[in-house]
Every structure is written in C-alpha cells, then in structure tokens.
C-alpha cells in the first residue's frame, strides 16, 4: 500500500514536470533592459509588431550570461529574442546558447552598418556610458573623468555601475591614460593595479548601481553629485521628468547591444520576423525620439530628426570624443576581475 502510494505520487510528480516541459510552447517573448528604454521600444517596435498580428510579450532583465545559460541548459527556456551585451553575445555564441542567425531572414547584411552583424546576433543599439550630473545642483560643470575623481573640487557621493567593466577604463583615463591606450594598459597587471589604485582615491564616496534605471533616480534624489549612466536614460529623465541633468561625452566608452534568438525556441520563425521588423530603417529611426541611442541600420540615419542628433551616440561629433569598448578584453579577464571587484568593493 505504502509503496504503491509512493510510486503513484512519484509518477504524478513526473507527469507534472513533463506537463510543464510540454508547456514550453509560449507566446513570442522579447527581453530588453527595462525602464525608459524599454518604454520607448514598446512604442516603436513591440506594439506595432503586436498590432501587425503576432502576439508578442515583453520582459526585462539586467544582463548576466548565467540567466541565459540557466534557461537553455535548464531546458525550460521561455524567452525568444533577447538584447545582450557585447561579451554576452560572443561567449553565449561559443557556448551554443543562441540560434545561428540567417542574415537573409532579417533583411540582409547590407541593411546594417558594418560590424553590427555577428554569426549569432545583430546590433540593436549603440550607446555610451557617460558622466552625468544635475545641472541645477552642480554649478561648475565637470569636463571629464578627472573631475569625476576630484572629490576636492566636487565633494559628494558618486555612483558607478557595480562591476569592473567600464569603471577600470574610466579610472585609467582619469589617471591620465589616453583613451586609445586604455586596453593596452589594462592588459598589463600594472595597468589593473593602477586602475584600482585610482578607484581607491574615491572609494569612501562611491555608491553602486545595478540597473540602468537607477542613476537618474539617484541624481534626482540628491544621493549623488555625479554618476555614470547610459546616455539614453539621462535624456529620457530630462524629457519625461523635466530634469536638467547634464552629460559629459569626452572619453566615454561606447558599445553595442545585440539581438539574439535563444537556441531551440519553438517560435524561431516569428523571432526572426521580429528581429527583421526591429531592423527596418524606418522603424529604427523612430527610436531616438524616445530614447537617445544610436541605431544599427544603415538607412536609418537620414530619417532621424536632426534635432535629436545632439545627444545621439552615432553623431560623428560624439563618436569623435568617445572610444569603443573592447569586448575581447572582458571575455578573457571578466572572471578574474569580477573576483577582484567583489573583493575591492566589499572592503572598506
């Protein structure tokens, strides 16, 4: 009696699990980075695509290859199209987490700017990590990363993204390394030491942010005088919440996020349709109105309202002052530096 009860329960549990696996059939799901950015994407991409007849739901995340790996290897993936950062694109592609992209199905390679098409993904946006401050509260305008690290001239807390990426770069620039040499210096052990030593000088004044929506909130709450931030979030806060946040573009790293299609999704055909839709020049040209990020389709630039160019990362004037992030550096050194960062940020 006991055994039969037990085995029937085990069978029931197995059935329940099999049932949930069979439910892998889900609505087409696109995953982006939340906040003002995703609100813009909703208006420009998701709602029109939905209206055109394919049911689409959107979710948000804060990045992390572990999340994607769990979904694919755990066998219960419910995401289809995901916006990933440059290193996540590279490593995830090697690990087989994404479908190989058939460029013909998303509009052909010629539709996109050179360097934005990858075997596993296609560029979504180009954005900068800028220095941001509240123009109403900070009277003297900072001019670059050296000011970010100057607590005498600009007393108060500063917020940076919690993680080594981009912080080591800007620390070196503040310490006098020209932006074109940053990764060369970082590839030496002394370079890493130098970056951390520079960060040490402002450590008591640092707070950390995790999600891209936080920096404008921290500025608005008066918790920090300076913060690093994704440029689009700052413009969005100015336009939506009537803030007068300002940005410094000099020597800021820019990078590209990409759309990938998760491996083995039952919605692959619709996912390709969505990526193709989001890659159309006329659709992409509408995005900067909501959030000031550069887009990747070659034909989009002439269609973008000229008045928006001032704060657009793909504006040649801005590109000239910025430098490209090197994803290869982070793929190789990310694990070690994450450890080092944890240690560093966790001790007084």
């Amino acid at each position: 009696m006991k055994t039969s009860l037990f085995s029937s329960l085990a069978a029931a549990a197995a059935l329940a699990m099999a049932g949930s696996a069979a439910h892998a059939q889900h609505d087409l799901t696109v995953v982006s980075w939340g906040g003002a950015y995703q609100d813009g994407q909703k208006e420009v991409f998701f709602k029109p695509f939905n209206a055109a007849g394919t049911k689409l739901v959107d979710e948000s995340w804060d990045g992390g290859l572990g999340v994607l790996r769990t979904k694919i290897k755990g066998g219960n993936n419910n995401w289809d199209v995901v916006q990933v950062e440059a290193d996540e694109l590279e490593v995830g592609c090697d690990e087989g987490l994404y479908e190989k992209l058939d460029v013909a199905k998303i509009g052909g390679a010629s539709r996109y700017l050179a360097g934005t098409v990858h075997p596993c993904g296609v560029g979504a946006i180009i954005y900068n990590l800028v220095l941001a401050y509240d123009g109403d509260k900070t009277k003297t305008a900072p001019t670059g990363w050296a000011d970010f690290f100057d607590t005498k001239k600009f007393p108060g807390k500063r917020a940076i993204r919690n993680g080594a990426k981009w912080n080591l770069e800007v620390a070196l620039i503040a310490d006098g390394v020209p932006s074109k040499d940053v990764y060369k210096v970082l590839r030496t052990p002394e370079g890493i030491e130098r970056a951390f030593k520079k960060l040490d000088t402002i450590k008591p004044d640092l707070v950390f942010w995790k999600s891209g929506a936080q920096p404008p909130q921290m500025l608005a709450a008066g918790d920090v005088v300076f913060t690093t931030a994704y440029n689009g979030r700052i413009t969005a806060a100015n336009e939506k919440d009537k803030k007068s946040f300002k940005m410094v573009w000099t020597d800021t790293p820019y990078t590209m996020d990409s759309w990938v299609i998760m491996k083995g999704t039952p919605n692959k055909a619709n996912a390709e349709k969505l990526v193709e839709f989001m890659g159309r020049p006329d659709n992409q040209a509408k995005l900067p109105k909501y959030v000031r990020y550069g887009v990747t389709s070659a034909g989009a630039a002439p269609l973008i309202d000229k008045s928006l160019m001032g704060e657009l990362p793909t504006n040649p004037e801005i590109l000239k002052q910025a430098f490209a992030e090197d994803p290869k550096f982070w793929i190789d050194n990310g694990d070690k530096l994450a450890e080092r960062w944890t240690k560093w940020s966790g001790t007084k």
Binding site: F6, L9, A13, G63, G64, V91, D335
Partner: protein
C-alpha cells in the same frame, strides 16, 4: 499506530522528497562535480594520465589536444571547458577558442605539436595550463569548495591561500555572521519590551497590538524594503524631518551603508522575535513574581532571578529564528546596503545569474548550510535541547 501516522504523512514526505530534497541535493552536488573538461578533452586527459606538473609534457599530448578541441568546438562543448579553465588560468578562455578555430581551419597535414600551440599562445604549451586541465579532470574535485573558503591548489597540487586580491569569502562569511548577530540583538532589544507589554495589557488591546506586530508580515518583502529607501534616502523623510527640527545641519547618510541594512532587516524580522517571546512570556504565571516580591525581592532582582530564567527559552527560540533567517538575507542588503554590506547569499545569486559559475554558487550555498547547521547544533547543545523543541 505510529506506522499509520507515517502513512498519512506520505504525501507530504513524497512532496518534500521530489520537490525539495532531490533538487537541493542535486544543486549542492554541483559544488564538487567536474564534467566540462572531461566532456570536451577526453583524449588530452588520457595523454596526461600519470603526468606530473614538474615533468616535461608528454609528446603525444598535443595531437590529442588538437583532436579534442576541434571535436569539442564542433559539438559546442569547448566553451564550457574553456570557461572552467579560465577560472584557474586567467585569459585562457578566448585563447582556447582561438586555438580551436585555427586547428579546425589548418590545412590538411599540419603538425599539431608544441610549436603550433606555442604560436597561438604560449599559455597553451605551458605545464601550468595542463596542470589545470588535469586538476579539472573530474569526476569530482574540491576546487569550488576550496575557492569558497579562499583556498586554491597550486601547480604542484598542494593547497594554499588564494592570492590577496581574490580572498573574499572568509570576510563575507564573518560579515554575514556579524550582521545577523547585530540584527538579532536589535530585534531582542526592541522585541522583548513589546512581548512583555502584550502580556500585561487587556486581551482586546493585546489583539490590536498583535495585529500591528503582524502587519509587516502581510506586506511583500520587496515593498517593505523599497519603502525604507524612500524613508532613509538623502532627501527622504527622516532627513527632512531632522533638518526641519534643526537637529542636524547636513543630511545624514542612512542608506547604502550598514545602518540602512540593520534598520531594514530588523524591521522585517521583528515579528519572528516577538511571537515566540510572547508565547513563552504569556505562560509565565504572574504569581511567581508576586511570590518573589512577598519573599522580599526588589522588582529588579525578581525580574533578573525569576522572570528572565523562565523567559530564556523564548529568548533562545526567537533569537535563533531571527539569526538563521537573517543569515540567508539577500534582497534587503542588495537594495539598501553598500558594497561592504552584501551577505553570502548575494554572492550565491551573483554566481548563479551573472557569471553562471554554478559550482562556486553551490559551494557557497553549502558553506552557508554548514554554518547554519553548526550554529543550530551549538544552540541546541547550549540550551539543553529546548531550542529544538521551541523552534
């Protein structure tokens, strides 16, 4: 009779087994399992059998290694192995992927020897690298467990402390214990008077007060914590009130530091202290205190010598409950703490979702589970078995 009792509990036992014990055991086993390298580089491991780090590398090794990485690249298993090896040999991840690319596209007849890999990257022809490969051969290793207590194995295979820059978890464990202990003391200091008050007032009043105690239970943890952000931030309620009253000239830093963590965690955990205390205090007959008074004890003496010993089981149960719950806190410190206030579970979460290092996440989980069990056993022993009964 007892047997029938067990039979009735079978559904619950089966449920716990299938959905709780088995998955947790599986997850924790990741702390010692090593599968990636074995899967991707079987021929290399065979060629390495019997090799020691101080000997020259065996000659057939590189041919086997080339065959392995070409096959593993095609089967998409190389990236996992590369990630695992990158933990120990920094930078080898993309080097290995590059070597596989070059070996796959090399013209037929290319000799895969030490010189070939030397040309790709000297690391790939070094004993240090192959010693790491050998250590990760599996099926089990202590790598993650050692890493979770800041220890590493060097190329010779002996255990030593991790380099200064990557010693993290001993500090984090101590910090986790310190925060939990502080929260427990704060909860006790605030909860004891409340529990005492609950036993003294009329029953109707006590009911209302209990509702107030339980109120935080009915709000989501996330909402409670987020409201502390609003209250404590620089231009938040506490600071503006203090500024208006003229008690401070500059806003205080109450959040993104230890203060914020202690305030928010104490608030969240207070009911877990008050409820067991209340149960115990209510059962102490008031006659005992009156008897002590009639025998000439001053109120303070009676309290310390009669009341407190009787309240001890409640104090122990409440404290243990709060302490153990506090050990596993994650969301609250993440939202209102700074970098130096993150507890062990924060790192478990980081390694699970951000970097995808499940082995280390499992090892840290095991460390936490072990610590909890040890503390529980100690508390149990010290209280002469009463804690187990109360908890």
């Amino acid at each position: 009779m007892a047997r029938r009792g067990w039979a009735l509990a079978t559904p619950l036992v089966a449920f716990l087994l299938v959905f709780f014990v088995v998955p947790i055991a599986w997850l924790l086993s990741l702390a010692v399992r090593e599968a990636e390298v074995q899967r991707a580089l079987p021929r290399t491991l065979q060629a390495l059998a019997g090799w020691h780090a101080d000997e020259p590398l065996p000659a057939p090794l590189f041919g086997a290694f080339a065959a392995d990485i070409v096959a593993a690249r095609a089967a998409s298993t190389l990236a996992d192995a590369a990630r695992r090896l990158n933990y120990e040999v920094n930078g080898v991840r993309s080097t290995l992927m590059r070597a596989a690319r070059e070996a796959s596209t090399a013209p037929a007849g290319t000799r895969f020897d030490a010189a070939f890999f030397q040309a790709v990257d000297p690391t790939l022809a070094s004993p240090t690298f192959f010693a790491a490969v050998q250590r990760a051969r599996g099926p089990v290793s202590a790598y993650y467990l050692l890493a979770s207590v800041d220890l590493v194995r060097n190329a010779q295979g002996s255990v030593e402390r991790a380099p200064e820059g990557s010693r993290i978890y001993q500090d984090v464990l101590l910090r986790t214990l310190a925060i939990s202990a502080s929260v427990t003391l704060l909860c006790l200091a605030m909860g004891f008077p409340v529990a005492l008050l609950l036993t003294q007032v009329r029953e109707r009043t006590a009911d209302w007060l209990l509702v107030l105690v339980l109120l935080p239970f009915w709000t989501s943890l996330l909402v409670r914590t987020a409201s502390w952000v609003v209250v404590l931030q620089k231009e938040g309620m506490v600071n503006s009130l203090l500024l208006k009253l003229g008690l401070i000239a500059e806003p205080l830093t109450l959040i993104y530091n230890r203060t914020g963590v202690l305030v928010a965690m104490t608030h969240v955990l207070l009911p877990f202290m008050i409820l067991p205390l209340f149960t115990v205090l209510r059962a102490i007959p008031p006659q005992y205190m009156r008897a002590a008074a009639s025998l000439g004890a001053a109120p303070a003496v009676a309290f310390v010598r009669v009341f407190l010993p009787l309240a001890a089981p409640g104090v122990a149960a409440g404290s243990l409950m709060v302490f153990i719950l506090a050990l596993g806190y994650y969301i609250t410190p993440a939202l209102v703490g700074g970098g130096s206030d993150q507890m062990l579970s924060y790192f478990v979460a980081t390694y699970t979702t951000d970097t995808g290092n499940w082995g280390l996440a499992a090892a840290l989980g095991l460390l936490m589970l072990g610590t909890t069990l040890v503390l529980y056993a100690v508390a149990h022993r010290l209280s002469g078995g009463r804690v187990l009964a109360m908890g």
